[in-house]
């Protein structure tokens, strides 16, 4: 049994009579502990794919088995619980709460997990130290660099010990030095602690971190292998 199994996943957006198939019959399996990089041109359906895996979105049709459980029929509350317990999301825009400190941002998933304030602080501080931000715990996002903000976001994704880390263009807003630092963190987490990691990226040198690459085009998977050839058209 794979950790993630997608079967004939279709996502359609309708505009009156006109419809677009953002995901067109996607079938894919991802095993526990894999490090996957998702590539493809803009609009090819990468984010939609990630959102469905992350239970932020639901497919129009098809089955999604997470840990062997069919979550495509789950209610909003059940999906929220999965996002809280099994998924850690990292976004291109960091998506930190501007009026909360780094520590409070990291605590956020634990609040919704119903963990006590004392335990929350303990856990959050521990994770912050792992991403090298112990001394920035009481800083607000605006007082942090882009790379530091993204590290806070990674800490937030990790804090509730999820089984999957999903990062949608996590380096898209960072300079190349910070990008590599962030990728090193993902790599280390994957190698040392076995977090299943899926990262969307445009950049070939970032994609090179992946041990498996999946390339999307027009809602379809056009390549799924150890290394996908760089598409000349892009």
């Amino acid at each position: 049994m794979s950790l993630i199994e997608l079967e004939n996943i279709v996502k359609v957006y309708k505009f009156g009579e006109f419809e677009i198939r953002v995901l067109d019959n996607i079938t894919v399996k991802i095993e526990k502990g894999e490090f996957v990089c998702i590539m493809g041109p803009s609009g090819s359906g990468k984010s939609t794919f990630m959102n469905i895996i992350g239970c932020l979105d639901t497919p129009t049709s098809g089955k999604y088995y997470l840990d062997g459980v069919d979550v495509s029929t789950f209610s909003l509350d059940q999906l929220a619980e999965i996002r809280n317990k099994k998924i850690g999301f990292v976004f291109q825009q960091f998506n930190l709460l501007p009026r909360a400190t780094a520590l409070e941002n990291v605590e956020l998933p634990l609040i919704y997990a119903g963990i006590s304030a004392k335990k929350r602080k303990e856990l959050a501080l521990h994770i912050l130290s792992k991403v090298g931000l112990s001394d920035r715990a009481n800083h607000y996002p605006r007082q942090l660099s882009g790379g530091q903000q993204q590290r806070v976001a990674i800490a937030r994704a990790l804090v509730n010990s999820p089984s999957i880390i999903l990062a949608d263009e996590p380096t898209g807003n960072l300079d190349s030095k910070s990008s590599l630092e962030i990728m090193e963190i993902f790599k280390k987490l994957n190698e040392e602690q076995g977090f299943t990691t899926i990262i969307v990226t445009h950049e070939p040198d970032i994609a090179a971190f992946g041990k498996r690459q999946i390339r999307f085009l027009d809602g379809k998977i056009v390549c799924d292998s150890k290394v996908c050839p760089v598409d000349e058209k892009l």
Binding site: N51, G54, L56, D57, L76, D77, A80, E81, R83, N84, K85, F89, F91, N95, L96, L97, R99, A100, L108, P109, I111, Y112, A113, G114, S116, A117, R156, N160
Partner: protein, 409 residues
Amino acid sequence: MISITSIINIALRALRANAMRSFLAILGIIIGVGAVVTMIAIGSGASEKISKQISSIGSNLILVLPGATTQGGIRMGHGTQQTLTMADAEAIGRECSAVMAVAPAITGTAQVVFGNQNWATAIIGTTPEMVTVREWELLWGRFINEQDVRSGTKVAVIGQTVAEKLFGEVDPLGKIIRIKKIPFEVIGVLDKKGQSLTGQDQDDIIYVPITTAQRTLFGQTLPGRVRLIYVKASSLESIPQATEQIRTLLRQRHRIGPNQEDDFTVMDLTQMLKAAEESTKTMSILLGAIASVSLLVGGIGIMNIMLVSVTERTREIGIRMAVGAKPKDIRMQFLIESVFLTTIGGVFGLLLGIGASLAVSSLMDWPVSISLFSAIIAFGFSAFVGVFFGFYPAYKASNLNPIEALRYE
């Protein structure tokens, strides 16, 4: 399950971040609750005043006055002003089963002197039953007794105002006062009753035996005639029966034919006051209802602020959902924010209401009464307004699609 303290913390933080806006939203509730509390205080103050008057005149009191009543009110009757007699009073006491006590009275005003102090006051000649009928308490000494009435002794029972004006700090008991230059011994001092319905000071009074009043003080009065008769019915329910019995009896005694008008008037004071009490109650409900409109407007203000807040914080909502907030967690967060706003408004509104009531009371000399009831109303109402007007914005927030919320700029 997310803990309630966490949700409250989140809500408080959000309110603090927008302090000015939160304050303005609260202001609407403060004014609304303040208005409701003030109006209830004014209204119930008025009805309490009337209730007090009811108990101060004596419960179940019926007045029998000489002269007929027409639809326009009381008109003095046929030639002679004084159609009621001592014998009428005795007959009412003897023959009307629904009557508990009867006290005839002769009234007048006179100058009263003690030492170098003098004071003009109401002098009432009456019988011992007056204490029962009017429910007077004696502070010191005793009231007029049967013996005083029989022998026409020159004794006086004085009200608080008279005691104050004539005696000041001196103990009035056993002292001799002069009413129309005739010496009277003070045998008792009445307890305070305060103002009557018409604003008269009920304590500015001296009671003397009715016989003494007839013979010595108001000599021109026809013998046996009385100015009015105070009657106490045996219960509130028996007032109509007592009234009817008195009318029938007096018509008989005065030999009034079937087509003739009464030459007396039976007034049911309790009933009149009850009616007045009812109408002030209605008025206070009406005032409260009008004031509630401002609370409603305040509630709409809260809803407006909450809707703005939800829109502004769309992205925050998306983030919270992405890390595992359930729709009900989001709904709770916004509901608590709005209830918090309105309850704060409720507390300060209550204070404002109390302040305004006291101001009205001292500036306009209007009795106000702030009760626990109105405090509870203020609280309950403001919390209710918070839930009611916070629900839609909170529902809207919880219904957001996480992906769209995250994409919101």
